[in-house]
Symmetry: C2
Subunit: 145 residues, 2 copies
Amino acid sequence: MKKLFLVFSFFLALAASAQAQSSKTAIDQANRNWITAFNKGDAAAIARLYTEQATILPPGAPMAKGRAAIEKFWQGAIQNGIKNAALQTLNLEQHGRLAREIGRYSLDVPDAEKKLVRVEGKYVVIWKKIGPAWMLDTDIWNADK
Amino acid sequence: MKKLFLVFSFFLALAASAQAQSSKTAIDQANRNWITAFNKGDAAAIARLYTEQATILPPGAPMAKGRAAIEKFWQGAIQNGIKNAALQTLNLEQHGRLAREIGRYSLDVPDAEKKLVRVEGKYVVIWKKIGPAWMLDTDIWNADK
C-alpha cells in the first residue's frame, strides 16, 4: 500500500511538473508573440495578448485598463519611435490558472535629438489562463536608472 | 435534492466571500503595518512584512531579493530622507494562498535643496499567505511622472 502511494505521488509530481512546463512553454511563446507584435508596430496584436480586463501600469504615465486603453498606450509608444523591445523571464511561478513572472526588458527609446538610447529595466506580469491560453492580466515595469 | 444543492452552494459562496473578506482585512492591516514601520524609520520591521524570498523591484535601482536586501533598500530610502509614505489599495484579487494587489502610493522625497517634494505613483504587490499571515512576496512600483 505504501509502495502504491509512493508510485501515485510520483505520477502526481510528474503531472504537476508537466503542467508547470506547459505553462512555461505557453508563456514563453506569448512573450515571443508580444515582441514580434511590438517590433512590427502592431498595437492591436499586442492588446490581444492581454485579458479583456487587464491593467498596465507604465512608468511616467497613468495606469490603463482594458484592451482598448492598452492598445492606445502601445500605439503611442510605437508612434513615439520606441523600438527593439526584448524580454527575458527571470522567474515564473504558477499557481493554478495564475502565474507570476519576474523579468527584465530592454527598449530603444529616442532622446531629444531622436537618437535611440537603450533603456533597461525590470517587470512583473501576472498571467491568467483564459480557456487554453495564457494572457497578460497585470503588467508593470520600471527602468533601472 | 436540488434544494439541498442550492443551500450547500449558498454556504460555499458565503464561506468563499468570508475568506476573501478576511484576506482583504489582513492585507489592509499588513499595509497599515508597512506604513507605520516606514514612517517610524524602522526598516527591519518593514522587512519582516515580506516573505523570506520576497523580491522588490524599485524604479531607478536594481531588484533586491530576500529580507536582508529588502531591509537594506528601505534603510537607504529612510536615510535619504524619504518620508510620509501612504498606500491606497485599488483592487485586490485573491487566488487561494496568493493575492494580487494594485494600488497607489505617495511619498515625500527630498529634492537637491533638501526640500520635500510629493511623488505619486502606482504599485503591484503579490501577497502570499505564509501560515496564518499574509506577506508581501513581490513588490514593484513606479512614479506617475
